[in-house]
């Protein structure tokens, strides 16, 4: 008898919190709003922990059917939740990091208007994200998928009176729709060919298909369309453009939604659909190529950004690219491992950046920071941990996961040295731009105006209300989450990719297992390592890979130190020397402008000229207008008959009668 886990409560609790705060929050005090938001989010976290504790005793995967939803013919989709090792990892990351960021946001948003609205949206986001993770079929997952998009839209545009924030929210929503369209088509194809959207059923039907047959079309198409969806949500080329703009939202939102959790939904979805991708080599290669290119591309843009949050945004895109690269070489557990460590250190980086922005009064330009390490020591030390983690220095968390990805990129049967080389180069760039940020922010001389104080809050759309002008450390409620996340950023990787891989093995190798392994393996799925193809031993050993990637990171650190601390005038000279290329990178390769010319302008012009002026005004309106005009003209001439003069009516009747009689006489005479 399986114990009842009441999984449905985990998403539902934040929804209740969102509903209370959203409906009644206007009348509640800030303390009450805080209490409600934290209580319901914390309860979800506590339940997730409870599930994790009972976890080893559970028969997995565990499914919890809640209610029937759609039953049409043989097709059915239910409200059902699904728990396996993969969803458990996601569950813990989302509720844990989410809860910490909730706490942080209390401090960060305390002075803001719309406090209740913010927490209501934040809880709403948790609800949808947990639905996405726990769904047992694609349709329920799609609800969560759309829901997090909605929450993201609402939170990016939180300061909706600011035009740039409102349009950034719109951009995120529209770009996400493009991806969602691909996702939806993939779902329709699955329904058409497998008659179900349930993970278990679809995968059971997909599993016997061998790559040779499957790649003939269907699975490749489905895989590519799912990839389009994942690209939209996880900000991969070519749909990444919304994420940098999404930084218009409050910093806790950037940390929670646009770094730690929502943007990783695409990675989760690809990993969840691994059965499909493994049987569609073309789609898998596409995932790897897109991921690798995105990692490199975003990292180069990140090098030139001066806004502290924009650097982190491009860094997020780049790290997501790593996760896609890992998925693309079928190293799904490495991708999820990186997803987890990334949630820790990137969440921390954003929160610490928020703390820095808070300290210097809303300034986000790194050129006007500097020398902050003694003034905000807690922020400095936590951010240091995160910076070393993302750069991939041992023994920080990012080292283990990035190393696992790079190793797999080279040795996996789907991998290639090209992915690995680009990955290592990107690791170098990552280290460079992160230490650039670190040096510019915390070292050297303070370059901002000392008295600027909190006037800057106005620029970020936040009202000024603290009365102090000097640079100051953030309140404790913001520092505690920073410290916890810093500890996780340091220790989070110690579990090791091997052990993590073994933990997730029942998810990722379950089906292959039955396919390729001898029956003996089936006896103890927990006890036996899955038969992953052993890396070819002729290649360089794992230690060599580790050395190379660590030295790449060290090189990045050195270069950043040289350019931004030792010889601060040098970057200018290099920028001058590079000329046009530097300008291109600084302007993000003019991708936004390119999209504007290629897609936005034609769409707007086409809609204005053809659809509006041509079809709407020329055809639809004209038909109605001309029809009405004609009717009026005819009635204008005819209405004279209806004079109201009785005798003229009688005359018409007599005339009609005469006509009829004349006609009859004419008929008779013929």
């Amino acid at each position: 008898m399986t114990p009842n886990l009441h999984l449905w409560l985990i998403p539902l609790l934040p929804l209740i919190g969102a509903a209370i705060n959203g409906l009644l929050g206007r009348r509640l005090s800030r303390q009450a709003v805080t209490g409600i938001a934290l209580a319901f989010c914390g309860a979800a976290f506590a339940m997730a922990l409870g599930v994790a504790i009972q976890f080893s005793a559970l028969p997995l995967p565990y499914t919890e059917a809640l209610a029937h939803w759609i039953r049409a013919g043989t097709f059915q989709a239910d409200f059902a939740f699904y728990l396996d090792q993969l969803s458990l990892v996601m569950l813990l990351v989302v509720t844990g990091v989410g809860f910490l960021i909730h706490i942080y946001a209390v401090g960060y948003m305390w002075e803001e208007g719309g406090f209740y609205r913010f927490f209501s949206y934040l809880n709403l986001f948790m609800f949808f994200m947990l639905t996405l993770i726990l769904a047992s079929n694609y349709l329920l997952m799609f609800i969560g998928w759309e829901g997090v998009g909605l929450a993201s839209y609402l939170l990016i545009g939180f300061w909706f009176t600011k035009d740039s924030a409102a349009s950034a929210g719109k951009k995120a929503f529209v770009v996400n729709r493009i991806g969602d369209f691909g996702f939806l088509i993939a779902l329709f194809l699955l329904i058409k060919h497998f008659g179900s959207l349930d993970f278990d059923q679809v995968f059971r039907l997909v599993q016997p298909l061998s790559p040779e047959i499957a790649s003939a079309g269907l699975l490749t198409t489905v895989g590519l369309l799912l990839l389009v969806g994942a690209c939209g949500k996880s900000a991969q080329i070519p749909l990444y453009v919304w994420l940098p703009d999404a930084m218009e939202g409050p910093t806790p939102v950037s940390a929670l939604i646009h770094a730690a959790t929502m943007v990783t939904a695409g990675v989760y979805m690809v990993a969840r659909s691994h059965v499909i991708f493994e049987r569609a080599p073309i789609a898998l290669t596409a995932v790897a190529i897109i991921g690798t290119l995105t990692a490199l591309f975003a990292a180069t843009i990140g090098v030139c950004q001066t806004d502290i949050k924009k650097v982190l945004a491009y860094s997020t895109i780049s790290q997501l690219g790593y996760m896609f690269m890992a998925c693309g070489v079928a190293a799904f557990s490495a991708a999820i491992f990186h997803l987890m460590t990334h949630a820790f250190f990137k969440g921390l980086l954003f929160l610490a950046a928020g703390s820095v922005i808070h300290a210097v009064g809303g300034e986000q330009d790194m050129r006007r920071m500097g020398g902050l390490r003694h003034r905000i020591p807690w922020t400095f030390w936590t951010m240091t941990a995160a910076t070393f983690a993302i750069a991939g220095f041992p023994p920080f968390a990012g080292f283990f996961s990035k190393d696992a990805i790079l190793f797999k990129a080279f040795t996996s049967p789907h991998g290639s040295w090209v992915y690995w080389a680009i990955g290592v180069f990107t690791a170098f760039l990552t280290s460079f731009y992160m230490f650039r940020l670190w040096f510019l922010t915390f070292f050297g001389e303070y370059r901002g105006a000392e008295s600027a104080g909190h006037d800057g809050h106005l620029l970020s759309g936040a009202p000024v209300s603290h009365g102090h002008g000097a640079i100051h450390e953030s309140p404790k409620v913001m520092l505690v989450p920073l410290v916890i996340l810093a500890v996780l950023s340091v220790c989070g990787g110690w579990v090791g990719s091997e052990r993590f891989d073994r933990f997730l093995a029942p998810v990722f190798h379950r089906l292959e297992f039955k396919l390729v392994a001898a029956p003996a393996f089936l006896d103890g799925p927990h006890a036996v390592m899955p038969p992953t193809p052993e890396p070819n031993t002729e290649g360089p050993s794992e230690t060599a890979f580790t050395l190379i990637s660590v030295s790449a990171a060290a090189l990045g650190l050195l270069l950043a130190w040289l350019l931004y601390l030792r010889r601060p005038q040098l970057p200018q000279e290099i920028a001058h020397a590079l000329g046009g290329f530097y300008q291109a990178v600084l302007n993000k390769y003019y991708i936004d402008e390119l999209y504007a010319v290629l897609f936005v302008r034609p769409l707007v012009d086409g809609s204005t000229k053809i659809l509006w002026h041509g079809i709407d005004q020329g055809v639809i309106d004209a038909t109605v207008d001309h029809g009405a005009d004609a009717a009026r003209k005819v009635s204008d001439s005819v209405r004279h008959m209806q004079s109201g003069n009785l005798r003229s009516y009688a005359g018409w009747v007599a005339l009609g009668a005469g006509a009829v009689i004349g006609y009859m006489i004419w008929i008779g005479a013929r």
Binding site: G644, L646, R647, A650, G651, A654
Partner: protein, 100 residues
């Protein structure tokens, strides 16, 4: 014997006189008399056909028409008197109380 067509022509003439009177006269009493003229023109053609075909139904119709005409004359004259008392005129163009 007088042929049927004579009766019918006379009936048509009577009816046309009635219609013309109805259309061109303004005095309400004349209009009323024109209506009677039309009815009797029709009556004439009814009895003419009845005599021609030796059936009684045409004559029965005529009786009905006469009954209706008598009733109409009673009600109509009463209305005309009431109208004259209200409007002090019998000119139909001036009796336009219901017009906007």
């Amino acid at each position: 014997m007088v042929p049927l067509s004579y009766y019918l022509v006379l009936s048509g003439i009577l009816f046309t006189c009635g219609v013309t009177g109805f259309l061109i006269k303004r005095n309400i009493i004349t209009i009323f008399m024109s209506i009677e003229l039309m009815l009797n023109g029709v009556n004439l053609s009814f009895v003419a056909f009845a005599a021609q075909w030796h059936t009684l139904s045409g004559q029965v119709f005529v009786f009905f028409v006469m009954v209706v005409a008598a009733a109409e004359a009673a009600v109509g004259l009463a209305i005309i008197i009431a109208v004259y008392r209200t409007c002090d005129t019998l000119n139909v163009d001036q009796i336009n109380l219901l017009k906007l």
